[in-house]
């Protein structure tokens, strides 16, 4: 039997005002893009907690995609800016943990950019496919219970 081809599994956090609406538009416009991402709609990219990103990696995701509004367009004024800075710092830490920083991708997608959503998602999946499966054995974790009871 041939070696099964590696298909990256992606978790995509999409803000409901821009990237999520853009993804919907891509769908209703019947644009084709790879089906590797599991979309999770959040109210704002600023709502994406880094623990969720790490949880995705812990659960076996090969890449995490965060879609937010273009600079200046955040429905909550500055959520996307905070996310951008968070992701920047997180990427540095991921590198030290043996997870390629490229596995976290932040993109600005507006509600009218269905085509852009399909394009950037396609590109991300392609890059993750080229990067191959994760090489780190384990993952930065959160939530180890500090005191075990009983």
């Amino acid at each position: 039997m041939a070696e099964p081809k590696f298909e990256p599994r992606i978790v995509a956090f999409l803000c409901r005002w821009c990237a999520g609406a853009g993804a919907d538009l891509a769908g209703t416009s019947r644009l084709r893009y790879p089906p590797n991402a599991i979309p999770i709609r959040v109210n704002c990219s600023g709502r994406v907690e880094l623990e969720w990103v790490m949880e995705a990696f812990r659960s076996g995701a090969d890449g995490v995609f965060i879609g937010g509004c273009h600079p200046g367009d955040c429905h909550y004024v500055s959520g996307n800016y905070k996310t951008r800075r968070r992701v920047h710092l997180l990427r540095r830490m991921l590198g030290e943990l043996g997870i390629e920083p490229e596995r976290v991708r932040l993109e600005w997608v507006s509600a009218t950019e269905g085509a852009k959503f399909a394009r950037v998602m396609g590109k991300f999946v392609e890059e993750m496919r080229a990067l191959g499966p994760r090489k780190d054995k384990a993952v930065a974790t959160a939530g180890l219970v500090a005191v075990r009871k009983g």
């Binding site: 905070k82 930065a140 005191v147």
Partner: protein
Amino acid sequence: MAGKPRIAVYWTGGCGGCDVSFLELGTPLLDVLAKIEIAFWPALVDAKRTDLESLPPRSLAASLINGTLRTDENVEMARLLREKSQLVIAFGACAHLGGVPGLANLSSREEFLRRTYGNGFHPAPPPGGRAEDSPPDLLPRAKPLSEEVSVDCVLPGCPPPPELIGLVFDAFLSGDPPPAGHVFAHEKALCEECPRTREDRRLAKLVRPHELLPDPEECLLDQGMVCMGPVTRGGCGAACPKGAMPCTGCLGPTPNAGDPGLAMVSALASLVRVGEEGEAAFAAEDQVLDSLVDPLGTFYKYSLPSYVRTGKRSDG
């Protein structure tokens, strides 16, 4: 059992600072010592492992164990003390979360042995098996106490502040043991008890402690120091910020903060701002964030083994 409660104090992979920290109690320590009997405390009394082994199970009222678990002998001793004790108290940041020695988990055991002892070092048993007096084997990674034995309560800190040590003895001697899993520190963040004032909530640059003599009144974070106060438990009276040093997180994260590293990234990311927020400032903001030296070592200084499973750190 009549008589004074018997206790054990033991160190695993620690520095000895926790043992010394008892002295910080000052004269109240004499009252405490009058009310207990020390059955086993390698730093203080001459009792051997065989003495401990000869005790009946649960005959010790409490064992206070400090240090990270780093060798197989550490684990054996922790299990032995668990068997002989009614209460096991994780004493200090190492036993609580892994501590500073836990930062070694960023390298593999082989890598840091090579780095310390050179290329000639082979962590192999001597010819013919294990010599009677060969050193204990290093575990593949450092672990907090709770990964090997059940821990009844935690006294955090590096070392634990005297006022919290006092609380442990009060609870213990009152005959009313603390609830299971209790951590002898506040649930609220250190900032709540820090006397410094927060005003200008934006960070245009990061400074390391040796680069700045901070204003005595103003919040250290506001002055650009990476202070872990927002994500760290209070209970020490903000001793470090009062002394013009940023909190490094030794009491461990608050229950709300969860993973201290990720929580601190979020806190810093919210505060770092250069000029008007927006696309034009992105490069400058990244420069500020990049000026942070060693994010993992800063954010997980005392807690790496508890929150970061394995790491692969490239040199440089």
